[in-house]
Amino acid sequence: MSEQDTDTAMTTQQFNIDTVDHAASTPEIDQPWAELGLKANEYARIREILGRRPTAAELAMYSVMWSEHCSYKSSKVHLRQFGEKVTDEMKKDLMVGIGENAGVTDLGDGWAVTFKIESHNHPSYVEPYQGAATGIGGIVRDIISMGARPVAVMDPLRFGDIDHPDTKRVLPGVVSGIGGYGNSLGLPNIGGEVVFDEVYQQNPLVNALAVGVLRHEDLRTANASGVGNKVVLFGARTGGDGIGGASVLASESFDDTKPSKRPAVQVGDPFAEKVLIECCLELFGKNLVEGIQDLGAAGISCATSELASNGEGGMHIELTNVLLRDPTLTPGEILMSESQERMMAVVTPENAEAFEAVMATWGVEYSWLGEVTGDGRLVIEWDGETIVDVDPRTVAHEGPVYERPYHRPSWQDTLQAARFAESAAAAELPGDAESLGQALVDLMTSPNMADVSWITDQYDRFVGGNTALSQPDDAGVIRVDEETGLGVALATDCNSRYAYLDPYAGAQLALAEAYRNVATSGAVPVAVSDCLNFGSPEDPEIMWQFAEAVRGLADACMELGIPVTGGNVSLYNQTAGRAIHPTPVVGVLGTFDDVSRRTPSGFQRWADGQAIYLLGTTREELDGSEFARLRGHLGGRPPKVNLTAEKTLGEILINASRDGMIDAAHDLSEGGLAAAISEMALRFGVGARIALDELCERDGLTPAAALFSESQARALVALPRSEELRFTDMTTARGFPALRLGVVDAESGGLEVTGPFDGESFGIGLDDLKQAWSQVIPSRFDAVQNATEAVRTEQ
């Protein structure tokens, strides 16, 4: 990346260039639109827009920009609800909403926060390490594009059955990739999810969330304004990465010696990205760029057409100015390449010299590609010959929009009628002390409830020194301002079994859980980002799941009063005709005036004798639960959504944190009360004694339902006895159920549960439970990981 390299820039290759003039005079030429993924009607539309056939380069641009991934053509009509179902109150703190690289929310004191979640599912299946690594790289560049400094990442992950060979192949690579890239960038990974379910076999979901902070004045957006301003591409060179489909364009080349097979995967370089982050932040600090856009999917096609169409005019580019890693690339391939660690910016001519000085400081390669024009056209030349001449809006924003047909699946009613309560397994519910105790141990040692530290310990959670909470706490918490303690909390959640049983309610439950997690940590939820992972939109039953989930999520956001600020849709997650469960992963961002008042999730050793309260109402809701899953059952309806109760519960938890009433809090979700109390005890190895009698009586429950039901809007808190009165006064005033369930017991080293069952009580030693709980994941992956590591170190 020295200046020398810049001087030895590529020499122009001689291609049989398909110019605009050539295209106009040869309308009959056969073009590989189908191989590039376009439909006949879409190709016809392109010809109609242009009034001629597209050139090879234009075809490349339209095909990638009109892909499902870039154009949201199947999802757009539904996603509109996120923009429509909002109130002025919800928009109050919103500085940038949906449509930009990431939404931006005001944090107060002149600070703002931006966050977004994206999928990198397919690349991570093909090449787990690089796929997951570049997933982090891509989402981090989205954050930089807003003018923000990235401060943390999170990864919601979903894999197939834990013992399936495919999971053994994919998981270690994905985890090392996330760690390898994120750790090298110096970004703490503060949470996420790990879910095992056979529906994700051959279709793992690797979602990545990044959060960044900025001062209000540093806010940047992706638009090219100001006629005469210069367009620059900087960062890594452009190579043949990730343009598998473009190889059909090779016919435009005379050269037979080029690599025959273009890979669909990209290799990332985290150290180049780190330099790019610092370089961009200096550009923002010195106010040297007018507009900026990262290069991700669809590379230069996306960056030029989006920058141009978001601005006021057009753009004129000379494509031979692009610095190449592989000089055999054709214009179409250069436009489609997904090489990592690149950015495009718009700079005024006066600032060009200062811009170059910043590039020199950081040793970043750059090349001036062209300038902003006023004619409303995106014109791209190759060695002076025009190969693209389009209205950028038709590429970036006015792509096809499909109202895909959808209908409720024929099997949905049967599925919902198959209640757990009426299943064979329900006839043998654990009812005495021994079987209830065993059921709790079985629950905690199931792959989905087990300790995930084998995974998260491969990520740096504390780098940067601003991590206030991270896995396994309910939310990840990051301090933004060291002086005041101002900070943010983040949680991502989705129970796809719920969404499978009822996509509308399932999406709302995902939001409710993420909201609850953020509030449990003590933060005020303010914004939502979603990553909607579904099967094929061309299947009307899958499309119904998607439509229902979006409708549910938009309705729930409206009710909770927090807006969706951005996100991502990943469709076609299916293999051999079998789709994944609908998986609308929801990330919620909360704010803290001072992160030092955060509420941790575990019982503290010094908190012996503190009172444990259960907040909320428990119903017999075992459909879709982890408890039912362990008994081979999936059917019925998910737990009832009660957003009013979620809001009240949130207020209680936030106020309790603000007033310093509680010392620990944990939300109830998968695995219900049994899982929550176990996790609180396992956190610091501090036990508890609880009694179920009053709960069973008040809510009319069997002991098994009391322990394992997954009713929503519930949380456990631990508080000093001196605070009990103040706390219960608060819950009573809000009319929210609070029940004293037991006490923290730091001496016993175990959990003791008494209740209305035969044998009256059971106890579980924490040491034994911890041993079993923490070995579930390592026992499967230690050997695999060691072998992979050994090969990697040999390099």
Binding site: T8, Q130, G240, R262, V267, F271, D326
Partner: protein, 83 residues
């Protein structure tokens, strides 16, 4: 004892961050004559006894399936070296 040498390189069109880092470091240390670096890896498989066609085929299979990642790497050589 004969040794089978397997050489693996990152695919030419794939970014090679290590090679790039070395290429950038060379001029700083006074090595100015090189315009690019690609870094691969070399395996030495020791064979007890004679290298038959079957053994060599095994080595080729191991090279393709285990020693390289076919998504991002190419096996560029599998050859026998007598000591």
């Amino acid at each position: 004892m004969p040794t089978i040498v397997v050489e693996v390189m990152p695919k030419p069109e794939i970014l090679d961050p290590q090679g790039k880092a070395i290429a950038n470091a060379l001029p700083h240390l006074g090595f100015t004559g090189f315009s690019g670096v690609r870094q691969g890896k070399r395996f030495e498989l020791t064979v007890e006894g004679e290298v038959t066609e079957a053994v060599l085929d095994d080595a080729k299979r191991a090279a393709a399936e285990m020693l390289s990642n076919p998504v991002i790497e190419d096996v560029v050589a599998v050859r026998v070296e007598e000591d």
